[in-house]
């Protein structure tokens, strides 16, 4: 048992605020949902009817947090035994709570199913991104980006603090990271499944996400001689 310091502030008296502690079944103050809409159905101890549930579900409960794109989501809350699932599955970070090790193992398994093009849907691919000279590296999920441009925007945000002194604001170019790197001392490279060091952007995007194991923002001086082996990679259908 650790000794608790005596010189201490009193607990805030909750009764002085609008929050009250009611026993189960007693009247509780109206509460608001995240979206601000008041939902009286939540307050009373009475059972909620089916239609109330539908309203509640439509108004906010089923919609995942701001980070999701859940447009066109059709939640099937019915009395049939079918399990309600979302039509579109933009992923929430860290949900369901499964460790990266397991997720990556499953992803690795899925990429082996060449004859099942849908096997990879939904699995995520975390790769490490390091930058020469930076104090720590970052991890990105390649599955949440749809193009090199998306990826470069994200990386630029993540690593801009390390190069801020040199490059300040970025231009309106399509490829901000390339902009940051253009004429700079850095290039963006990645290590693929075969262990080869490649320049990011040389192969088609889908092939990149399937083969990239980790990325490295490296000094141009170290990247001399990094000949793109694009033609070979595309031919062998990696």
């Amino acid at each position: 048992m650790d000794p608790i310091p005596k010189t201490h502030n009193q607990d805030l008296n909750l009764k002085a605020t609008e929050l009250r502690l009611g026993l189960p079944g007693s009247e509780s103050p109206e509460r608001t949902t995240i979206g601000g809409a008041k939902n009286p159905n939540l307050v009373s101890g009475a059972k909620r009817g089916f239609s109330d549930t539908i309203n509640f579900v439509k108004n906010g409960a089923f919609l995942a947090e701001n980070k999701n794109n859940t447009s066109g989501k059709d939640t099937a809350v019915s009395s049939s035994p079918k399990v309600p699932v979302a039509a579109s599955k933009a992923q929430v970070v860290g949900w369901p709570p499964i460790r990266s090790f397991r997720k990556n193992s499953m992803a690795a398994k899925n990429t082996k199913n060449e004859d099942d093009p849908n096997a990879e849907i939904g699995s995520c691919v975390y790769v490490k991104v390091s930058m020469d000279g930076a104090p720590y590296l970052r991890k990105v999920d390649l599955k949440i980006y749809s193009s090199y441009q998306d990826l470069s925007l994200a990386l630029e945000k993540m690593f801009s603090s390390f190069t801020l002194g040199q490059y300040g604001t970025h231009g309106s170019s399509e490829n901000p990271l390339m902009n940051l790197l253009n004429g700079s001392e850095y290039v963006l490279t990645y290590e693929d499944k075969d262990g080869d060091l490649m320049l990011v952007g040389d192969v088609p995007w889908d092939m990149f996400t399937g083969t990239c194991k980790r990325m490295r923002i490296m000094k141009s001086s170290d990247a001399i001689g990094l000949a793109p082996r694009v033609a070979d990679k595309c031919k062998s259908g990696n």
Binding site: M1, D2, P3, P5, N9, Q10, D11, L12, N13, L14, A16, T17, L19, L21, P24, S28, R31, T32, T33, I34, N39, L42, K47, R48, T53, A61, A64, E65, V77, S79, V83, P84, V85, A86, K89, Q91, V92, V93, G94, W95, P96, P97, I98, R99, S100, F101, R102, S105, M106, K109, I121, G122, Y126, Y136, L137, R138, K139, D141, K157, S161
Partner: protein
């Protein structure tokens, strides 16, 4: 008063950390006596205390166990670079404890340099367990292998290792024969099989051997034959073309492994090879098939023979029928873990429902610990489970889709989880999911008096929910919350509770910068870390909610190894009168012990 020798002898029977901590508080002489003879130190949060303070208090330590990052780091919620560096600890303990024997680390950043220091500093080093650690490479492992002459245990549990080569294993010298446990399951690179075989052959005390994927199934029989004393075995990739000779050798090798109690591995299973393990099924107390993508019939056939099974870890491929078999065959089951085979896919074609868990709760009277992923749940199922198994100590349910209600009645699952906490009076760990209102937290605060750790996601309606938990759960030490509408009020109202806990994590909630700063200012015994990666974070007004906040008690003050996206709030004396200007100042009046919002921008003194 007992003479010292008697006290020391009595204390040698106290093994649990809590018992030792309690004994040390009895009186000064017990404190002194206890600190001199404490051999094992456990630090649940590496930032709660300074290594030098630990060393000063406990001079004779042989075993150190440390934990770093918060639990939600397992799910990528803690950005890289947050912290948890073990290096400062390693440097200090290398200097202070030359006779240290054991190091156990969980969720820490371990570099090759750390491993080299470990390898060279401790003459009698025996046990290295790294769980969910990262930052080191196979070079660091090579250093350990080459230098730790008396190593017994090298256990890498789900670590992220930079794999430079498989050569590290070959660094164990020929004279090295003390190995008892080797777990390399998380490594991806191939090791020299002949080096591995020779290592196994010269380790007569080897009880645990968990291989990695690269060891082919054809080679398993060789290793099993070399180590008939093995108790815990993890296969490599369990697949190959079906060959009778390979199968026969393997089945034969398993049948001779009379001491085998635990099986795991089974990456990439070829079902035809599964019957090779049938001969050991009845011996098994632990079985992990959670990387085996095999369907229910194969799995059912196996579990139906595991009469002595205590721990089962499996994928949802086992389905309700398989779990029904478990409930009838595995009468000694203590722990059930069911992972989802494909959690991100929309269509659900696996027939695992809440029924499977209900059957196991009915049939397995010793069941204490559950981790269950599924797609649907009902209050009545939860109530049944709680009534069947009041002896549950750990109940973790993950319904994969957030905020899903009772699929039969469409109500929230408040009553179901309420029943769990009401009936399972020894419950120490709970994770909830599905549609939950503030009501469930009322139940938890009222009933869950032994709850030590609680995980909440996408639940609740208001601060009242959080208040119920913080004010009601007397034993609560770890609370982790994500995506819940909990904000400043409950947090500030229960500020002193936070010092009785190890830590609180809240992400994607409604806790504001202002509240975090206030908490940090008023509670010197807490570090209030705001983890926020937004670009414009420095210009955000104080009422804006933070992305993530991690609050933990500490006696070592703020830490200085934070990256730019982590701010330790309220430790700066100037903060109270910052230039940003408080639009709504929440003044904490220590004299009156009340909490009321005021509108003013400055105050001279409180």
């Amino acid at each position: 008063m007992f003479p010292e020798e008697v006290l020391e002898h009595v204390f040698s029977f106290l093994n649990s950390h809590t018992d030792r901590n309690t004994a040390s508080l009895v009186c000064k002489s017990w404190y002194e006596m206890e600190r001199w003879c404490r051999k094992r130190v456990f630090i649940g949060n590496c930032y709660a205390v300074n290594p030098r303070v630990v060393i000063r208090r406990f001079p004779e330590v042989k075993s150190v166990e440390l934990k770093g990052k918060p639990h939600f780091a397992d799910f990528n919620l803690v950005p890289e670079g947050w912290g948890g560096y073990v290096y400062p600890w390693i440097v200090e303990i290398a200097r202070a404890y030359p006779w240290l024997e054991e190091i156990r680390l969980k969720r820490m950043v371990v570099t090759d340099e750390c491993l080299e220091i470990v390898a060279k500093s401790f003459r009698n080093f025996r046990v290295l367990v790294l769980e969910s650690c990262e930052g080191f490479s196979t070079d660091g492992l090579a250093a350990v292998a080459a230098n730790c002459r008396n190593l017994r245990v090298l256990d890498l549990r789900e670590c992220e290792v930079e794999e430079l080569s498989g050569h590290w294993l070959s660094h164990f010298p020929d004279s090295f024969t003390s190995l008892e446990s080797l777990n390399m399951a998380c490594l991806g690179s191939e090791v020299s099989f002949s080096a591995l075989e020779r290592l196994v052959a010269r380790s007569p005390n080897l009880k645990t051997l968990r291989l990695n994927r690269t060891v082919p199934i054809e080679k398993l029989s060789t290793l099993l034959q070399r180590a008939p004393q093995l108790v815990d075995f993890g296969t490599g990739a369990y697949s190959a073309e079906i060959r009778q000779d390979v199968y026969s050798r393997l089945a034969d090798a398993f049948s001779r492994s009379k001491n085998l109690k635990s099986l795991s591995g089974f990456w990439d299973v070829t079902p035809a090879y599964l019957p090779a393990i049938y001969s050991v099924c009845s011996q098994l107390t632990s079985l992990n098939l959670s990387y085996a993508a095999t369907r229910s019939p194969d799995l059912t056939k196996i579990v139906s023979q595991c009469y002595n099974l205590q721990r089962l870890v499996v994928l949802d491929y086992i389905e309700d029928t398989g779990l029904n078999t478990v409930s009838m065959s595995c009468k000694d089951l203590r722990e059930l873990v069911v992972f989802p085979s494909d959690p991100f896919v929309g269509e659900v074609d696996v027939l695992l429902t809440e029924q499977g868990l209900v059957s196991v709760s009915q049939g397995c009277s010793k069941l204490q610990s559950v981790l269950y992923f599924c797609h649907q749940m009902s209050n009545s199922a939860l109530i049944s489970i709680s009534k069947n198994r009041p002896n549950l100590t750990c109940f973790r349910l993950c319904i994969i889709e957030p905020r899903v209600p009772d699929y039969v009645t469409h109500e929230p699952l408040d009553v179901g989880f309420g029943s769990i906490v009401e009936n399972c009076k020894q419950l120490t760990r709970l994770s909830m999911s599905g549609l939950l209102t503030d009501r469930v937290f009322e139940y938890i605060g009222t009933h869950a008096k032994n709850l030590d750790m609680l995980s909440i996601a996408f639940a609740g309606d208001s601060d009242l929910g959080l208040h119920h938990v913080l004010s009601g759960c007397d034993s609560l030490r770890k609370l982790e919350i994500r995506d819940c509408p909990f904000g400043d009020k409950a947090l500030l109202a229960n500020a002193s509770k936070l010092e009785k806990m190890r830590s609180l994590w809240m992400s994607s909630c409604l806790v504001s910068f202002g509240a975090c700063k206030l908490l940090g200012q008023k509670m010197p015994g807490l570090n209030v870390e705001v983890i926020d990666e937004r670009e414009n974070v420095n210009s955000l007004p104080e009422y804006v909610p933070v992305e993530k906040v991690y609050i933990y008690r500490t006696v070592s003050g703020q830490r200085f190894d934070t990256p730019d996206f982590v701010r330790i709030m309220g430790k700066d004396k100037d903060d109270l009168f910052s230039d940003k200007g408080l639009k709504v100042a929440v003044l904490f009046c220590s004299n009156f012990g009340t909490f009321r919002p005021c509108c003013c921008t400055r105050s001279r003194s409180l």
